[in-house]
Subunit: 549 residues, 2 copies
């Protein structure tokens, strides 16, 4: 058989704490997974809940999958009924999915305590359900739940479950380390024994409770497994499922197995982040292969050597997974990386040692106060320009700003909610000798300030109307997120805001730090607009505002 | 030799993007690591930067380590000088650390391109530096940098480096997968070959670029390595170093190697989270063994079976690492978990099926609107009480609140900063028929509201003066953190706030959701105080406020 890359993000991945997928989310994720070229997408459990039922209804009509086939997940027939008469089995049969993955108990204690039936009836349930669905013309895979624990508890019965399913027509049986307690050598031993004792394709389904989900999956493939299950970004209950991205990248780039359609592994970073946008789980910067930090270098030691030969310091070319090498500006990086970073931004600093020293000092000093330029290239570039040109770019002067939020009643839209609060911001600035006073209304203080500030600046610089605030990240540090009571009230913490501004074609990120979210946001908003204006207006005298014509 | 657990959080871990450790941070982390019972703590590179130099100065006098020994990290002597005359080597010799870990090149291309010297000189540098430090009475370990890549490029030279170091007196040589590209079977093969070709203790130092750092480390131990290096919580550059917590837990609980002093593995969860507080890197909920989600169950399917026998659904007893099993309230969990959760909070719901249905519906509906009760037990309990008792506990009515923030100039404390903004909040509430109007000043809107609200309520309920807001987390979802431009401005996003309130002895968490941080915070603040008042005041009639006496 050909090798199976089987994604279960929409079913097992959705078990993750804090992860909640709407039908629309699931359809969007399925499209992204198809774009990565996975062979199978497990869409959920039709009949088990309305959401999954609706997903399959819509998936069949709305999804035009190019590479993947849709799999419906479900259980074997209930105790004591015919498979054909079991409504849950019918939901699988009628799901419209050409593949059904049946979960079956292979651990004797689970059969007796959780399923509350006999070991014989469990085998009959598997036999009946598999053969019924096969007769109905579907392809049937089997998830042998708790297989590895079951194998330890009762090897004969665990193997009996596999034989029964193969004989009934299961094409692949995925051995599941449901509780995730396995290590690679153990997985390899069990898979080898299973392959000796049974005929049929073996699959593997691992969880990361020992931190070895990826390695366990690879160990199973080394031992002959031809079907790997996992979730993109390693989503899943508890510690997560095997990260399908790492599994596939290792299989192709390290073990030389071409398991994805040619070229599609290069989409991995884009797809991994696109799915993270849908799940709204912030992408893990340290995720292997596709993380924002996966090919990032910080230490000055490295930075200087990277000038000589980048390949000395990376285990592969990041382009292979659609990722990039990044260099960070940080007080640990020192002069070498400041120089490299400058070059990255188009400034040759090598000639001017004093300049490099001044910039390095500025960066260190700002980082002491909570700034980070690792993500905020635009703020770093403004700092750089200030040192290079002797003055910080400035297109307007701020006279003052004010934000007012108020509510009658409890003012929360909450469970006991009685309607939202009103927020308005007044911003007074001077541009090109003209005073602009604008009021902004928003659904919150930062939004209101953003509206008012851009309204005021647009008078002098119409291009600002095209700018758009597309990302807004708040990080509370010192105290708050660190629960250091000794540092006083949680709300006394310092706030760092990262704002990403777009002009429609490119985007840039600025950072602000302050005692609270409004202050910090204001700084990031001002720098974001300033950076954009410099790019579009160039020199720092404003275009004629309409009111001067 | 006895097995070495060697932590390099303070040196290699500190290379992580966004991680910035002060000397005080490093001292605090060293104490936590000692509490976990690691054998060696690599403190940094004395002489390389002022921070590390100061750390060693203070560590020697201030740290009273019970289990761990301090190791100083540094490089072999410079090209063409005597080890005794190299100031960098002197800094190691005089660091006060009884162990020095020397990093040495073992990859021929790195010697030629990065070190810019001959292969012979590199061997001499190793020989001289190791023997010099040994003569000076220090224990010497060697980090063979890029060893696995070097072994592939030039096996003979890589082995020659090891032999040279052993002969010069290195007690342990840690084979470093510096670029992190290895897989477990490869690591095992190389370690086996090294042990055949050389005499001496072998160590292992892995990075997680293939997602296999933990498994690679275990593979090396299986092949005879007696020294494991890693970082707590898997901190480190790029994708991080091997997570020392997972490595040690696997060695003890899965492989039966007692590598920590008896009983201390039970401190793992506490220590991992304590260190995360110091580093201010939010703990990874899905971290194996010690993550908040590591033993958490969400699916209704599981929840019902867990009633029968918890051990069917966990790979080990969480108590072994100081963690707990948790059940989550979620719309995927359904009635079974609502019932279990109620029991956890001391409410027996099994009798009243309608009640369970109502609560489940309320939870689903709230989660649709962005609430999460997974972390906010107190908010869930208020909801539960409301359904059980027919009314939500209420100790005061809110008439209105208002927050004003304003600044002259740009109002940011930022790089171009001209002083902070002023914020004040006015809160009007009614308690026990008395109207209380209070103003709060704070460094931000939430802080000011918190001050004003507690000032007003304290009049009626003096106990509130003992309450303290100890944690404040902001999560922006829909739009903002997900960069969905199609959802409009980033600042249009919805905000979820989690607030942890303490009465000095216990603490509880409440959740608020709103169009902006102020609204959401207000809801969480009100619920936080309400929950605390119910616990302290009991029934919902206020104590006589002073103004009535």
């Amino acid at each position: 058989m050909e090798f199976h890359v089987y994604d279960t993000t929409l079913r097992d991945g959705a078990q993750q704490e804090g992860l909640n997928l709407s039908v629309a989310d699931k359809l969007a994720i399925a499209r992204h997974l198809d774009g990565l070229g996975v062979g199978f997408i497990e869409g959920g459990w039709p009949g088990a809940n309305p959401r999954d039922t609706e997903f399959f209804k819509r998936a069949v009509s709305e999804l035009a999958l190019e590479h993947a086939r849709l799999a419906a997940f479900g259980a074997t027939r209930r105790v004591g009924v015919r498979a054909a008469d079991d409504p849950q089995v019918a939901a699988l049969r009628d799901s419209g999915a050409s593949v059904v993955t049946l979960v079956a108990k292979s651990h004797d204690r689970h059969v007796e305590l959780a399923l509350r039936t006999t070991l014989e009836e469990n085998l009959a349930m598997i036999r009946d359900t598999v053969s019924h669905l096969r007769e109905e013309g579907q392809q049937v895979f089997l998830d042998a739940e708790h297989f590895f624990d079951g194998y330890r508890a009762n090897r004969d019965y665990a193997l009996e479950v596999l034989k029964t399913a193969y004989e009934a027509g299961a094409e692949v049986i995925a051995l599941c380390d449901t509780n995730g307690g396995m290590l690679p050598t153990w997985v390899a031993d069990v898979v080898n024994d299973v392959r000796e004792q049974t005929q049929g394709a073996v699959g593997i389904h691992c969880h990361n409770d020992t931190g070895c989900a990826v390695a366990n999956t690879l160990a199973a493939v080394d031992a002959g497994a031809m079907h790997v299950q996992g979730c993109i970004n390693g989503y899943g209950e508890r510690t997560g499922n095997a990260d399908l991205v790492s599994v596939v990248a290792n299989l192709q780039l390290k073990m030389g197995r071409e398991v994805l359609p040619t070229g599609l592994l290069g989409e991995a970073t884009r797809v991994a982040h696109a799915v993270a946008e849908v799940t709204n789980v912030p992408p893990a910067g340290r995720q292997p292969y596709v993380g924002a930090s996966a090919f990032t270098h910080k230490a000055g030691l490295h930075a200087s050597a990277i000038k000589v030969d980048p390949d000395l310091y990376q285990h592969m070319d990041p382009a292979g997974v659609g990722n990039d090498m990044r260099l960070l500006v940080s007080d640990m990086a020192g002069r070498a990386s400041i120089e490299l970073k400058g070059r990255e931004l188009g400034y040759d600093l090598s000639a001017d040692r004093d300049l490099v020293t001044r910039v390095t000092e500025r960066v260190k000093e700002a980082e002491q106060r909570g700034y980070t330029f690792e993500a905020a290239d635009a703020s770093f570039e403004l700092l750089l320009i200030e040192e290079v040109e002797g003055a910080r770019p400035s297109f307007f002067d701020v006279e003052s700003w004010r934000v007012i939020s108020e509510a009658r009643g409890d003012g929360s839209a909450g469970s006991n909610g009685s309607g939202a609060a009103d927020t308005e911001a007044i911003v007074k600035i001077h541009a090109d000798g003209v005073r602009h006073v604008e009021t902004g209304e928003g659904n919150g203080p930062v939004n209101a300030l953003d509206q008012a500030l851009r309204a005021a600046i647009t008078r002098a610089f119409p291009v600002v109307a095209d700018f758009d605030l597309i990302d807004f990240k708040v990080r509370i540090f010192e105290g708050a997120t660190t629960r250091r009571v000794d540092q006083g009230h949680g709300t006394d913490a310092k706030t760092r805001v990262l704002i990403e501004t777009s002009d429609g074609s490119t985007s840039w990120t600025t950072v602000g730090v302050g005692a609270n979210v409004i202050e910090a946001s204001w700084e990031a908003l001002v720098d974001g607009l300033t950076f954009g204006l410099r790019a579009h207006v160039g020199e720092t005298t404003p275009a004629k505002g309409p009111e001067l014509e």
